[in-house]
């Protein structure tokens, strides 16, 4: 959904490594990267302001007491910072929401990998009518907006007695993460040289062994892209949880945040504290594994 894309066929079959941006040896010698560019520098500073002002206002407001927030200037730094708002949020079941989102993300990633990898492998390795059809199905599936099927999915979920459970969120989210995942994987796997397969075939390797000992290791870059992509779908998912769940039990973070709008209302500090907290876990991941995250995301773009 949010990041749906198609991997483009590469004019130059490129690296399958997980760092597609890895500096080419001569990269730093490019003259256009060496010279200072004052105009561009200015533009980037402007964008920095656009990025930072909302973040600053958010952090600052989240440390302000509600009374002050209703009267003071939201851009002035808090005079007497307080963590009360964070307490308010953490005491509203925030951990539970986060836990649910983590479960959904893990499950979605697991399902997508288990189903998409063999599928992409077949699509690349087995050229017949059926694998071609399967591939086409997913090619078209890329453009099906999840919103469009939410009503019939609701009917399906209700009939399966999955309504108001985490599975009701996990299964459709995984299904809708599959098209892009399959295309990304196909894009990566088809760059694995035929000779390598043939060499293994000569050794009498089974297709399974080729998958696990050749294709999967060679497609590490694509797989990490799929992991990040699928996890992002789960992380961002809003509509499925909104329609398919109702009670506290299976409530995920995005829906919890949405409910805070009516729960906290113009208690803007608490509302913003919840936004900050929702970003903390993934921000931690970003700090620890920025390269992997960024590299994987570039893979969503088919690069």
């Amino acid at each position: 959904m949010s990041h749906d894309t198609l991997p483009r066929p590469r004019p130059r079959p490129g690296t399958t490594g997980e760092r597609p941006t890895g500096p080419p040896p001569a990269g730093h010698r490019r003259h256009w990267t060496k010279r200072a560019n004052p105009l561009a520098g200015l533009g980037s500073i402007l964008w920095l302001v656009v990025v930072l002002v909302p973040i600053y206002a958010m952090l600052s407001a989240s440390l302000t007491s509600q009374d002050k927030a209703l009267t003071g200037n939201p851009l002035s730094p808090p005079t007497s910072p307080t963590l009360d708002n964070y307490n308010t949020v953490l005491n509203s079941g925030f951990g539970h929401l986060l836990g649910n989102t983590a479960i959904v993300a893990l499950a979605v990633v697991g399902i997508v990998l288990v189903l998409s990898v063999p599928l992409a492998y077949v699509a690349v390795r087995t050229r017949n009518r059926w694998s071609g059809l399967a591939f086409r199905l997913f090619l078209l599936g890329v453009a099906i907006p999840a919103q469009a099927v939410v009503v019939p999915l609701y009917l399906l979920i209700a009939k399966l007695d999955l309504y108001d459970s985490l599975l009701a969120v996990i299964l459709p989210t995984a299904a809708f993460a599959m098209p892009v995942s399959v295309l990304v994987l196909v894009g990566t796997l088809r760059d694995v040289s035929e000779e390598l397969y043939e060499a293994m075939a000569l050794d009498g390797a089974s297709p399974q062994r080729m998958l696990f000992q050749l294709a999967v290791p060679m497609a590490k870059g694509g797989i990490s892209t799929v992991v990040i992509y699928a996890a992002l779908q789960a992380w961002n998912g809003f509509l499925f949880p909104l329609i398919f769940t109702q009670s506290d039990g299976p409530r995920v973070l995005t829906l919890g945040l949405f409910n805070y709008v009516s729960q906290f209302g113009v208690n803007i500090p608490a509302l913003l504290a919840s936004v900050v907290l929702s970003g903390v876990p993934i921000f931690a991941v970003y700090l620890v594994a920025r390269r992997a995250l960024v590299g994987g995301l570039m893979g969503v773009g088919g690069k």
Partner: protein, 467 residues
């Protein structure tokens, strides 16, 4: 957690409707009923709705919530604490033991309540007991045979039958049958004002439209917005039209529309009301930002309490909202009065618009209907009524009058009670009186009128198209 908003934080809890969208929910009028007469609302001894028979028990209990634990969906605003207390009390009671059932309360965040209820009711994990707005809001469920007919239960239990005001009890039903037990306070729409702002500028609450315009002029001169309006929630705008149409054309105008006659929108009173709205807006009576201010997030109440706006047309729950958010304002500076008359108009100043109250209904698929009904009966108890009064509500019980003195604000409680008691006509909120298929487009048209996307005459012709 400290509740920041009043009980209305989720929207229009006890009032007009489902949070952001009365649009979404309630629909249909109780059996073609229109403006309720005073006797209809508070009249004593009405027995017309009662029939005799055995305990109502729609169908055999099965799938429903299953087991001995009954799930109850409630609109998850601050007032739900009263229902939580009632649930806890019930689960400890002998009634629960003898019915072998327990109740589990699920608070559904307000704004999405009607949609959540609908999706849950269409699934196997439907609630056994559910909060609703009576009348039109349960029509679809009644037609799908998903709500238990309580007529006989009430008829066979004199204590239950006599506990509630008959008219309010009736408004929880459809076609002369009872489907709901009143469980919250009465909800007339009231014109609230900020007493200190009025005193400072030597103003008196307006009783006529001329006075109102005079007050507006003085307030604007002083740099104060006359009315707070949470226009991001269209139902707040609806309240203005409801009262204006009543004051200009009388309660009959909407009564005709409610009966399904869309040509009723062509009544000159509707056009006049729309023009009056446009004049107010052009005049700056709601300020320039009303369309991005919401009620449901507490924006409009805050504007009102902070003295940025001097008046606020809102359901009676505004009092407890303010009590929760800005207690000192609610206690010292919150004033209230009736909506003024319009010169030459047909409507009585005592006419009221709003909602009777909210109800509990039972799902026909409930596993243990005896326990569900036993739980509902608690709403008739004096303890329950007291809890409502302590929260600033006026329960729809026949003993309400004698409890008013124990209200945190007896003066307001008595005003509200008197307002409903003396009303020659009580017009049900439009969005609940018409079907949900009409309510949503109707609210959209109202919003377009308020934001200047359609002229009063365009507004009228668009409404006439609704069927």
């Amino acid at each position: 957690m400290e509740s920041i908003n009043g009980r209305s934080n989720g929207g229009r809890p006890t009032g007009g409707g489902p949070g952001e969208g009365p649009s979404e929910g309630p629909s249909g009028s109780p059996g073609g009923r229109r403006a309720f007469s005073r006797r209809w609302v508070l009249g004593a001894g009405a027995t017309t709705l009662l029939t005799t028979g055995l305990t109502a028990c729609g169908s055999d209990g099965d799938s429903g919530g299953g087991g001995d634990t009954l799930t109850a969906f409630v609109y998850g605003d601050d007032a739900a604490k009263i229902q939580q207390t009632a649930v806890d009390r019930f689960n400890r009671s002998g009634a629960a033991k003898s019915a072998k059932g327990r109740v589990k309360l699920e608070r559904i965040p307000g704004a999405e309540y009607p949609a959540k209820l609908r999706t849950a009711m269409g699934s196997p994990s439907a609630p056994d007991i559910f909060f609703n707005w009576g009348g039109g809001s349960i029509r679809d469920y009644q037609e799908a045979k998903q709500v238990v007919d309580l007529t006989d239960t009430i008829g066979n239990d004199p204590a239950l039958k006599s506990a509630f005001l008959p008219a309010v009890l009736a408004a929880g039903g459809l076609g002369g049958r009872n489907y709901g037990i009143p469980m919250r306070g009465m909800q007339p729409v009231i014109l609230f004002y900020n007493k200190s702002v009025f005193a400072e500028h030597k103003l008196r609450p307006p009783t006529t439209w001329d006075q109102l315009q005079d007050v507006n002029a003085k307030l604007k001169k002083a740099g104060i917005t006359p009315f707070a309006l949470g226009g991001a929630d269209t139902w707040t705008e609806l309240m203005w039209l409801e009262y204006l149409v009543d004051r200009i054309g009388g309660p009959e105008v909407f009564a005709k529309i409610q009966e399904g006659d869309a040509s009723g929108w062509g009544d000159p009173a509707v056009l006049k009301a729309a023009e009056t709205v446009k004049e107010l807006i052009d005049d700056g009576a709601f300020g320039s930002k009303f369309s991005s201010v919401a009620y449901t997030n507490g924006g409009a109440p805050a504007v009102f309490a902070k003295g940025k706006a001097a008046m606020h047309l809102m359901g009676s729950w505004e009092y407890s909202t303010q009590l929760g958010k800005f207690p000192s304002f609610a206690k010292n500076n919150l004033g209230w009065c009736a909506f003024p008359t319009v010169e030459g108009g047909a409507g009585d100043i005592r006419n009221v618009v709003g909602n009777p109250t909210n109800y509990w209904s039972v799902n026909t698929r409930a596993g243990n209907k005896d326990a569900a009904i036993a739980f509902l009966k608690d709403c008739a108890s004096r303890t329950y009524a007291r809890a409502l009064v302590a929260n600033g509500d006026i329960p729809a019980t026949s003993n309400a009058a004698e409890l008013l003195d124990s209200s945190p604000n007896p003066e307001f409680a008595k005003f509200q009670y008197g307002m409903v008691e003396k009303a020659p006509a009580f017009t049900l909120s439009w969005d609940q009186a018409v079907g949900s298929d009409v309510a949503t487009p109707m609210l959209t048209e109202i919003n377009k009128l308020f934001v200047g996307k359609s002229s009063p005459s365009e507004f009228v012709s668009a409404l006439k198209e609704l069927k």
